[in-house]
Symmetry: C2
Subunit: 327 residues, 2 copies
C-alpha cells in the first residue's frame, strides 16, 4: 500500500505509531517499524534517562521520537539528545514550534507537526513541516474538540498545492476500516495511538490494557482531571481523553477543589500508586474513543498487518463491487 | 451506487437529507428524492400548519419526515397527521421511542432511529428500527460528544448479525470523500444536514447560508445557548453545534444569567428578529463542522450528484491504483 506518506518516509505501510508518553518505548517503536510502519518513541514530559533507555531498547530499527512541545521548552537540551540518535523523524505537538522546528530541519531530520486547528496547521506549514498530523477529539490523551471526519478533510482542503507536506489523520483509527476511511478523506496515512497502547510491546500495565479491551467507545471522556491530579500545567484548550474510571468521574466537574495543594498532593500520590499497581479505578487511563474497537492485546506487528490487510481488502472490494459497496 | 440502504429504501443513492427543523421543508426534501436520495421534512418543534404547508410543497415526490422525539411527545397527534401522508419513513431522534415506534411500524412505515450512544442504539434495535442513524458530535444542531469516525464503526460492530437494520452515518459528511469514508467505516449510507442546509431549496435566510460558506471547520461550537435563548427545554446531555456568532459567544459560559426570565425574554426577541432579518451576529446559526467543506449554495440535486460522482471516483480509483492510494 503505497501513498505519499510511505514515499516520504521510505516505509512500506502508511501507519505511524503515536509517541505516547510513558507507553511508547523503544520496543513498541521498533516493532512498528519492523512491521513496515514507522514507530515513534514518546518523549513525554522529558525524562532523559527514560529516553536513553528506550532508544537503546529500539536497537538498530529506524525510529522517530515525539515531544510535548511546551514541555520540551522547559528542557530544550533533550532535542539535541534525540537528534544525536539520528531519528527518522521528530514530531512536535502542543506548543510553539519555532525554536525547535529549525533545529530539526537543520539536522536533516523529518519534521512532523501534529495540529488540532487550521491556525496550527498554518503555523506548521510556515515552520516547514514535512508531515502534518491532523489530530482530533476522539484521540486518546491530549487534543481539542475537532473530529477526524471533518478535521482531516478540511486540513486537506486548506493546503496550498505548492505546500509539500503530506497529511496524516490521527484520532479514532484502530483498524483497517479507519485506515481506508482516512485515505478516502484525503489523508496520506494514519497515526495510531490507543490500538498500539494495547499491544504486547507497549509499556502499559496489563490491568489498564484489560480495562481498555473491556470498554466500549462511549466509555471515555475529555477532561482536565488527569493533568490537575498529576500536576502537569497543560495550557488551555487542551484536555485529555481518558476512560471513565472512579477517580476521573469523582473529580470531573470539581477541578477547582482538586487543584487545591493539599488535595492535589494527596490525590497525586494515590494516582501514581494505583497507576503502577494497575489499580484501574483509582488512576486515569489515557485512551481514545477507539477503545470500542479494541478486542485484544497482541504484538504491534500483528496490529500493523491486520490494519493493512483489512484496508486493502476494503479498497479492493469497494471497486470490485461498486454496484454494491456496503461492507 | 447500490448499498443495503438503497435496497431498503428503494432509492438510487445512499444519501438521506436530515430533517432539520425550519430549514428542511418540502421543496428541499422533494429535490433530494428527485435526485435519487431520500428527502426528510423537519418536524422540528411541531407546528402543524408548517408541516401541512411543507408536505404540500413536496408535491408528489416520495419523502419522509423526522421528529424531535421529546417535543413530539408534547404534541403526539402530529404523528397521525404525518402518517396520513404515507411518508417513505419517519425518523425519531432525541427521546423515548416506545410510544411512537410501534405506531410507525403498525402503519407500515419505515422506522428510522437516530442514535448518539450505544445504549440508544440498543434501544432502537429493541424498538424494531429499520434504519439506525449513528449521529455524532461534528453534526450541526443537536447531538452529544461522540465522533463519526469511531461512532459509526462501533455501532456497526455492536450490531448482532440477526438484527436486520441498516446503518447510516451522520455528522461531518458534506462531500463524496465523506460518503466514501462512511462506507469504508461500515455504514450503508449517510445522512447529510449542513450541506443541504446550504442549498437553494432550504428554508434558510441567504445571509445565514453566506456565513456558513465563509466559515471554516473551526468556526463552530457545541453549546446550550441556542436552546436557552429560544426557550426550548432540551434534556441533557444534548447540546447544539452552531457557528460562533457574537450572540453565541457573548452568552456561552454565562448560561445561568441568560436563563433568567427577564434576560431570556429580551434576548429571545432579539434572536428571532435577527434570525428573520438575516442578521447573523445577533442570532445563532445551527451548522456542523462540515461548514468548512461548503463553498457554495447550489440546488440540492446538484449536491447529491456531486457527492455520488466524487465518491464513485474515489472508490474506483482506490482499487485502480491500489499501489498508490493517496487521493
Amino acid at each position: 500500500m503505497r501513498t505519499r506518506l510511505t514515499q516520504k518516509l521510505c516505509i512500506e505501510h502508511p501507519i505511524i505509531s503515536a509517541p505516547m508518553g510513558l507507553a511508547a518505548g523503544g520496543r513498541l517503536a521498533a516493532a512498528v517499524t519492523k512491521a513496515g510502519g514507522l514507530g515513534l518513541i514518546g518523549g513525554g514530559y522529558g525524562d532523559s534517562e527514560w529516553l536513553e533507555r528506550e532508544f537503546a531498547a529500539a536497537g538498530d530499527e529506524r525510529i522517530g521520537c515525539g515531544f510535548i512541545t511546551w514541555s520540551l521548552a522547559q528542557k530544550p537540551d533533550l532535542l539535541d539528545f534525540v537528534l544525536a540518535h539520528e531519528p527518522a523523524g521528530v514530531m512536535l505537538s502542543f506548543g510553539a514550534l519555532a525554536p525547535f522546528a529549525q533545529r530539526i530541519k537543520e539536522a536533516g531530520v523529518m519534521l512532523i507537526c501534529q495540529v488540532q486547528t487550521l491556525a496550527l496547521a498554518r503555523e506548521a506549514v510556515a515552520a516547514g513541516a514535512d508531515i502534518i498530523v491532523a489530530q482530533s477529539a476522539e484521540a486518546g490523551g491530549h487534543a481539542i474538540e475537532r473530529a477526524t471526519f471533518t478535521g482531516a478533510r478540511d486540513r486537506r482542503l486548506s493546503r496550498g498545492r505548492s505546500a509539500g507536506y503530506v497529511l496524516v489523520a490521527a484520532g479514532g483509527v484502530a483498524d483497517g476500516h479507519g485506515l481506508a476511511a482516512a485515505l478516502m478523506l484525503g489523508a496520506d496515512g494514519v497515526l495510531v495511538g490507543s490500538r498500539f497502547w494495547a499491544s504486547t510491546e507497549a509499556l502499559v500495565q496489563p490491568e489498564l490494557q484489560a480495562a481498555a479491551v473491556a470498554a466500549d467507545g462511549d466509555s471515555t471522556i475529555r477532561t482536565t482531571v488527569v493533568d490537575i491530579v498529576r500536576g502537569y500545567d497543560w495550557p488551555p484548550p487542551f484536555t485529555a481523553r481518558v476512560i471513565k474510571t472512579r477517580l476521573t468521574m469523582d473529580w470531573h466537574g470539581r477541578e477547582g477543589e482538586l487543584a487545591q495543594p493539599a488535595v492535589q498532593e494527596r490525590e497525586k500520590a494515590r494516582y501514581w500508586k494505583a497507576f503502577h499497581a494497575g489499580d484501574v479505578e483509582n488512576t486515569c487511563v489515557l485512551a481514545g474513543e477507539a477503545v470500542g474497537l479494541i478486542r485484544d492485546v497482541v504484538p504491534a506487528g500483528k496490529i500493523v498487518r491486520r490494519m493493512v490487510e483489512e484496508a486493502e481488502a476494503l479498497l479492493a472490494r469497494s471497486a470490485d463491487t461498486l454496484g454494491s459497496v456496503s461492507i
